[in-house]
């Protein structure tokens, strides 16, 4: 499922009419129903429709799931959408799923590591790059990350002084 993104997971059945209770991983949880046809872990493709919000997630209807027993059988499966189903973004906006896995190289061409995660702690987005196994948080700004080349699978990082481990003073005052 390399060209798919995980939108959520089936927690079990909801009610007795074949509805499913799903947990959404989307930025806007109700958006799980916006991608139309989805794929489950077992390869089943079906149209997903959000019925209503319920405690801990959403009640959804999946085409081809007619009754509670069929819904129960899907418990634990993850829900995937094809990457192409996500809408295009303006310049300088990227999906986390596109950034994760990119190779980070410095301005000299040396490989620093891979992007492991993207965080936002309230002060702008940060890329977590694993440098020799250790996480280094890189601010996702034009000054620090001047180039993002998704087709080549890499981004260029120009780390300011003090960002990389060993830079600057490491002792508390």
């Amino acid at each position: 499922m390399k060209d798919h993104v995980c939108l959520g997971a089936v927690m079990g059945s909801y009610g007795v009419r074949g509805e499913l209770r799903v947990k959404s991983f989307c930025a806007e949880p109700s958006a799980i129903g916006d991608y139309g046809s989805v794929t489950l872990d077992d390869g089943t493709r079906a149209k997903l429709t959000v019925v209503r919000p319920v405690k801990g997630g959403y009640a959804v209807r999946l085409a081809g799931v007619p009754h509670k027993e069929a819904a129960d059988a899907l418990r634990g499966q993850r829900i995937w959408a094809h990457r192409d189903a996500l809408p295009a973004l303006p310049d300088d906006e990227f999906y986390h799923s596109d950034l994760i896995g990119l190779t980070a190289i410095d301005t000299g061409g040396a490989t620093l590591g891979r992007v492991h995660a993207v965080h936002d702690h309230g002060a702008g987005d940060l890329l977590e790059v694993r440098v020799k196994g250790k996480p280094v948080l890189v601010p996702f700004t034009r000054a620090v990350v001047p180039t993002v080349d998704l087709s080549a699978g890499r981004l260029i990082v120009d780390p300011p002084h003090g960002l990389m481990p060993g830079d600057g003073e490491d002792d508390a005052p």
Partner: protein, 93 residues
């Protein structure tokens, strides 16, 4: 109970010193490593990047105007939650 106004905002002295030194040197892109999560963000810190210690590592915090009056520690969580990427977006500023 909130802090008395007559005392002014609390900032560790070494944070002020380091910020001033970086401003004077003109290298405002440098990450200023600090351990003081309790210090208040002051207007003169806007535009600077601080590496705020979270007990393990220094989290880069680029200070903007909206952060004035908050504490540095608020932008440097001590626990990491990875979650799922799904359709989440990141904007390069």
């Amino acid at each position: 109970m909130s802090r008395s106004v007559w005392k002014g905002p609390f900032v560790d002295a070494y944070v002020l010193k380091k910020a001033e030194a970086v401003r004077e040197s003109g290298r405002t892109n440098d990450v200023i490593k600090i351990w003081s999560r309790r210090s208040t963000i002051l207007p003169q810190f806007v535009g600077l990047t601080f590496g705020v210690y979270n007990g393990q590592k220094h989290i880069p915090v680029n200070v903007t105007e909206e952060m004035i009056g908050q504490k540095f520690g608020e932008y440097s969580p001590t626990r990491t939650y990875y979650g799922h990427a799904a359709d989440k977006k990141a904007k390069r500023k």
